[in-house]
């Protein structure tokens, strides 16, 4: 399992998370990150981890639990 938290203050709206894990992340009308749903399987968890790694403003934390 992983726990995902996002810091909308830090987010700079690059959209890298949406490209990496489109089932997990989206951008709201302001372009800011929102979590659609917690990743359900291992591929989705991997994608979410990847999104955390490439986020340019380090606004995404994917905690293993």
């Amino acid at each position: 399992m992983v726990r995902i938290s996002v810091d909308t203050e830090r987010c700079v709206g690059a959209g890298q998370c949406v490209l990496s894990a489109p089932d997990v992340f989206d951008q709201d009308d302001h372009g800011i990150v929102t979590v659609l749903e917690e990743p359900a399987d291992e591929p989705a968890r991997d994608a979410a981890r990847q999104a955390g790694l490439v986020c340019p403003s380090q606004a995404i934390t994917v905690a293993e639990s």
Binding site: V12, G15, G31, Q50
Partner: protein, 396 residues
């Protein structure tokens, strides 16, 4: 930490040919600490080449993008990053929190969804350019006639810049992205662009259109004066970088046709060429240690994204074009709060350009040997001056 002074290396280093970054970068990455270099302006700077160090430099709050800080490195022999006095609203030259107001206002225009909605309009532009290519014969300079015209038209439509003014803004931009331009040339190009955009904004104040400049005017978060610099930045960044990426990518895909139409190729091309290697300049505003090197407050720093993107500890066999790798952690668009605002637009433009070009002109080939292609060694951005191509005259 190392304090050993090494002989400063020249800057910028020459790319040895297609497509690799300067060979010296590999040595620099292995060097303990950082490498000292001297810019053409005579200013000493620290070159940062390891992927991890580049990401650190681009996110550390003790390192600034603002040229008004003492010691900020001037890139070219003359000129450099404009200050807010010179070009108000040139927001890449601002740090948080001031930078945030510009970024937050602009990001809704460049989200993944917004850019996806632009696909049909971009497709139309690409198709029209290819119609024109085919109508004109069976040879072309693919830079002037396609790679540059597509992103120019796309960003013009987004901003609300009339198509007829393309030659003007492309010519002025070329002066700004050429390393050998003089101070006077640079200043006159900047002023001409500012005057032009000022007039355009005044027209849009009177007669708003369905475009970004009109929307920013209506929103009001960015002042009328700042809007000049904002629109100038978007106009310049919106066409030159994408043009270089499209051109170089065509050359690579011609010899790797199985990757045409695969989105992974776009990501790998961005990493592979890293055209904006010489774009980010920074200054330390406090003493800071990067990669085991003490950088004193007031010293200039140049994070080299092509060096980071060819770091073998992050990308296996980095000098190979391999779309199967996971290239997503590349820093071709930078990193940190300034990471390219238009990156999703760039990806979509590259994707549509390659798919359409190769499907509509399947016999496309280089008209000169690849070794004879003219590379932009004089550019802030890496790319091709020209891309002579031909195709079978029976096409379409």
């Amino acid at each position: 930490m190392t304090t050993t002074d090494r002989c400063p290396v020249a800057f910028p280093l020459r790319r040895p040919g297609r497509p690799f970054p300067p060979v010296e970068y590999a040595d620099f990455r292995r060097t303990e600490g950082l490498v000292k270099s001297t810019l053409p302006s005579g200013v000493p700077v620290w070159l940062v080449t390891r992927h991890e160090d580049v990401r650190t430099v681009l996110t550390d709050p003790r390192i600034s993008s603002n040229p008004s800080h003492p010691g900020f490195p001037r890139a070219a022999k003359t000129g450099g990053v404009p200050s807010q006095d010179q070009v108000p609203g040139w927001f890449v030259a601002l740090d948080p929190p001031e930078h945030g107001r510009f970024r937050k206002t602009l990001i809704p225009e460049f989200t993944v969804r917004k850019v996806r909605e632009m696909r049909p309009a971009i497709q139309q532009i690409v198709d029209a350019r290819i119609d024109a290519l085919l109508a004109a014969g069976n040879t072309a300079d693919l830079i002037a006639d396609f790679a540059l015209s597509v992103p120019s038209l796309v960003i013009s439509d987004l901003l609300g810049v009339p198509h007829v003014d393309r030659d003007f803004f492309e010519a002025k931009t070329r002066v700004l992205v050429t390393l050998t331009s003089t101070d006077a040339e640079r200043e006159s190009a900047t002023k001409a662009l500012m005057r032009y955009l000022n007039r355009l904004i005044t027209i849009k104040q009177r007669r708003p259109g369905d475009d970004l400049i009109s929307r920013l005017l209506a929103d009001g978060t960015i002042s009328r004066q700042e809007l000049t610099g904002v629109s100038m930045l978007l106009l310049i960044a919106g066409h030159e970088t994408t043009a270089n990426n499209i051109g170089l990518g065509v050359v690579t895909l011609l010899s790797n046709p199985r990757w045409i139409g695969d989105e992974r190729a776009v990501e790998e091309l961005l990493r592979y060429y890293s055209v904006a290697d010489l774009v980010a300049f920074r200054v330390a505003v406090e003493d800071v240690e990067i990669g085991g090197q003490l950088i004193a407050a007031g010293e200039g720093i140049v994070p080299l994204v092509a060096a980071a993107n060819h770091d073998g500890t992050v990308f296996d066999r980095p000098d190979e074009f391999d779309p199967e790798r996971s290239a997503r952690s590349h820093v071709a668009f930078g990193y940190g709060v300034h990471q390219c605002l238009g990156q999703n637009l760039v990806r979509v433009e590259m994707d549509i350009a390659y798919r359409t070009l190769f499907s509509r002109i399947p016999t496309l080939e280089l008209a000169v040997p690849v070794e004879e292609l003219s590379l932009k060694y004089d550019g802030v951005l890496f790319g091709l001056h020209e891309l002579p191509v031909r195709w079978s005259s029976t096409e379409e």
